[in-house]
């Protein structure tokens, strides 16, 4: 192996090792090398109804829109879903969201697509 390749390999390796230590054991929140399994679990349970022109409510199921089971659905994530229904689907949504995270389990009302304490 040429000396240039040896030096490159050693420098890249050292850089990766430093990155792994910082991401895995210090910041623990980076995209790569942090492995934050279960570090900040948060779950949302939606009970949403959209207004329809006929006046009858249409139930909204979050999982019809998501890729797959999401194990880190935060309050911000819940609001993002409501933003989507309001901005893209033009839905007027009401109901409630139960959020279970590090603070415990709490309920928030949904009024016309917005989370309300």
């Amino acid at each position: 192996m040429s000396s240039a390749l040896t030096i490159t390999t050693c420098v890249v390796t050292a850089g990766l090792l430093v990155r792994m230590v910082i991401a895995g054991f210090i910041t623990r929140s980076d995209v790569v090398f942090s492995w934050p399994m279960f570090s900040d679990p948060s779950y949302c349970y939606f009970e949403l109804t959209a207004e329809t022109p006929t006046g009858s409510g249409k139930k909204i199921n979050f999982w019809d829109y998501a890729i797959s089971m999401d194990l880190s659905l935060t309050e911000a994530g819940a609001q993002r879903f409501l933003d989507y229904l309001r901005e893209v689907k033009s839905m007027h949504v009401h109901g409630r969201v139960i959020i279970d995270d590090a603070r415990g389990s709490y309920e928030m009302r949904v009024i016309d697509g917005y989370l309300v304490d």
Partner: protein
């Protein structure tokens, strides 16, 4: 037997090792990737980033300049990932294919971040610099592989650069130790509360999911989910501590130069990943397969 990963460092990675582990790693990662892509294809992955979809809404919010804003680019990349996965499996330009797959996963975590996708990305990045991962297990060597003498000669003479093997050991070790470190710092995880909430979320949401993702055995539901919360927590706490200890000890077993200890660690890791997969049977098999392939990659060898 010396310790290969110490020899690798002491020679500044200017060392060759048998290529069979690399070949097994390539096949294992290719199977994992093909499994993942097939599973996602059946769940409508082709349409994930269509105009008006929720996934697209989240992606554009998080990455206003992301390349997948273009549906055409997403579709081209989607086809490329399938071609690359097939190429990696069949050993048609495996390094280029691995690089394409690493690039795909780097983009995929932009709209669907999952830690096992990150692991597959790293595995593919490692394969992209491993020139010997296609030297043994390939279709045109099939006749040779079926012949005992030819196979023995091929396996005993084929070698590859040690660095991909070394960095695989480091990635596997870092993943398990960082994960164990995070878990052991979390009182919620140690007490079993996290796993109680996780299992209940899986149980409550399962009937609402659009596609089949997992099945929870009745015994598990009765024993670990529907039992009183305190009882469930105590039971899950045992699992939580077993996971922490397992993740902390496993890399040591895999890095040992003593083959029986390595094999014991391999079996222990396989059991642990089977346990993880039991919680989510659709999403986690590719991760388990890729991890086992990584274990094969780091089997003790003579440098």
């Amino acid at each position: 037997m010396g310790i290969w990963w110490i020899d690798a460092v002491s020679t500044a990675f200017d060392m060759r090792v048998p290529a069979l582990p690399s070949n097994l790693f390539r096949i294992g990662v290719a199977v994992a990737v093909l499994w993942k892509f097939t599973s996602e294809q059946f769940c409508g992955a082709w349409h994930y980033l269509d105009e008006g979809s929720y996934v697209r809404f989240c992606y554009v919010n998080a990455h206003p300049r992301g390349p997948f804003r273009s549906v055409t680019f997403y579709r081209v990349a989607y086809v490329a990932k399938w071609v690359a996965a097939a190429g990696l499996f069949l050993d048609i330009g495996p390094q280029i294919c691995a690089l394409v797959l690493a690039g795909w996963f780097a983009l995929e975590i932009g709209y669907d971040w999952k830690y096992h996708t990150v692991f597959l990305m790293l595995a593919c990045a490692i394969l992209s610099v491993d020139g010997g991962s296609g030297s043994i297990l390939r279709p045109d060597r099939l006749l040779c592989l079926l012949d005992t003498d030819c196979r023995h000669n091929l396996v005993s003479t084929a070698t590859t650069w040690v660095w991909p093997k070394w960095i695989t050991l480091v990635v596997v070790t870092q993943m398990y130790w960082a994960s164990a470190y995070t878990k052991v710092r979390l009182a919620q995880f140690r007490s079993g509360t996290t796993l109680v909430k996780l299992s209940r979320s899986l149980y409550l949401n399962r009937p609402l999911l659009r596609h089949w993702e997992y099945h929870l055995p009745k015994m598990m539901v009765n024993y670990l989910i529907l039992a009183p919360a305190d009882v469930c927590r105590r039971r899950w706490a045992v699992v939580a501590w077993a996971t922490i200890v397992g993740e902390a000890v496993l890399p040591i077993g895999l890095a040992t130069p003593v083959l029986p200890i390595y094999y014991a660690a391999f079996i222990f890791g396989a059991i642990m990943h089977t346990g993880f997969t039991a919680m989510h049977q659709r999403k986690l098999p590719p991760f388990g397969i890729a991890c086992l392939a990584a274990y094969l990659m780091i089997i003790p060898v003579r440098g």
